[in-house]
Subunit: 117 residues, 2 copies
Amino acid sequence: MTTERIPSQMLKGILEGAILIIIGQGETYGYALHEALNRLGFGDIPEGTIYPLLLKMQRNNQIVGVRHPSTTGPDRKYYHLSATGEQDAIAFSRQWQQLAAAMDQLTEGSEPREDED
Amino acid sequence: MTTERIPSQMLKGILEGAILIIIGQGETYGYALHEALNRLGFGDIPEGTIYPLLLKMQRNNQIVGVRHPSTTGPDRKYYHLSATGEQDAIAFSRQWQQLAAAMDQLTEGSEPREDED
DNA sequence: CTCTCTACCTTGTAATGCAAAGTATATAAA
DNA sequence: TTTATATACTTTGCATTACAAGGTAGAGAG
């Protein structure tokens, strides 16, 4: 199992972008986001991280939240991207690619072997 | 020119790992590190970021610094990895790969087109 | 009625990148 | 000599971020 925990310091500034992209692929709510991030390999991001972040993104007019009742539990707050959020999602993708490219440059031809553990 | 500025929040926790890897590829000093990071595409990381980080890494016994006189300017403090630092560099590489894999999953088949604007 | 799963929110803390300012050496220009 | 520039390292304080810990509440199972 290569599922290694990503340190929280490494996620700083990336979670917001990741969430922008996820919401951009279809409106969703906090609790489902928690499961989506886990499924994608970001690890078990706690609710104490996700919900305050969503509220901040709402304050910054990146996302818009609408409450909907659920028949199987408490209300859900569905979020979708605003125009600003869409632009931010695109900007984040570019910045991520820039970072990934720099990291690629860094580890070019000097990666530690992992053939046999 | 696709050289986009990587936001500082996005670098949090990644700079340390990147520096571990660079120093692992051959001992170097702060000022040269500043240029190397720029050349690799990480952007113009200010000295107020690099030097305090090196001092912290030294306190944490990840790197070892040795002063050497220079004939072309002030003394240089050359750093090399400690045993701890080598392990941390390897751990960081794994964690980065985990993060990059999660980001790949995220943008799978749903990237914004850039063919034509 | 209690327990669990779902679903959201708040407060306070530690970690990180950075701006701003300072110190000091070597070299070239005035 | 004086001034300026590139090199080279350090410190203090700030804004941002992920998180732990705790709280609130609805729906269904026992």
